[in-house]
Amino acid sequence: MTGRSGQSDSDGPTDPTGGGAGRSDGSGRHEDAGAYAAYSVIGYLLAGLLFWGGVGFALDRWLGTNFLVLIGMLVGGAAAMYLIYVRYGKA
């Protein structure tokens, strides 16, 4: 029952660059890049929907229309998905 005292260091990944060579954002650390990516994905989607949806909402209030919110959300969602592709989708 020596716990982790037998291991001196975490095992390196199979590729020598540390798993970060293909990513276009800073985080390339081996096992945890997945958690970073997953929460970033949710962050991008929320940011896109809320920001451009908010812009659409403000334009709606100003112009008196009622469909710009939806257009804003769609544009924001598309921009967010494009960003996710650029950052995490390219192998």
């Binding site: 199979t14 989607l45 996710i84 995490y88 989708g89």
Partner: protein
């Protein structure tokens, strides 16, 4: 005699129903990812971008539902 009272708008019911699909979708995506990596651990770096992309697409629908539940009156 009323047995129970439910307060609120239908938005909440709509959001709850719309969250079923993305929940199952994300589960399927990551089940496939875990299976793939379990069969062949070297494929992890190849499969991860695909899993993240699929997750983003499925999650987008869930977040659309969440935001619309608040926006639509």
């Amino acid at each position: 005699m009323a047995l129970a009272a439910v307060n609120g708008t239908v938005n909440l019911v709509g959001y709850g129903l719309s969250a079923i699909g993305p929940g199952i979708g994300v589960g399927l995506i990551f089940a496939a990812y875990v299976s793939g990596v379990a069969r062949q651990p070297e494929s992890r770096n190849l499969l991860q971008p695909i899993a993240i992309l699929g997750f983003a697409l499925a999650e987008a629908l869930a977040l659309f539902g969440l935001v619309l539940a608040f926006v639509i009156k």
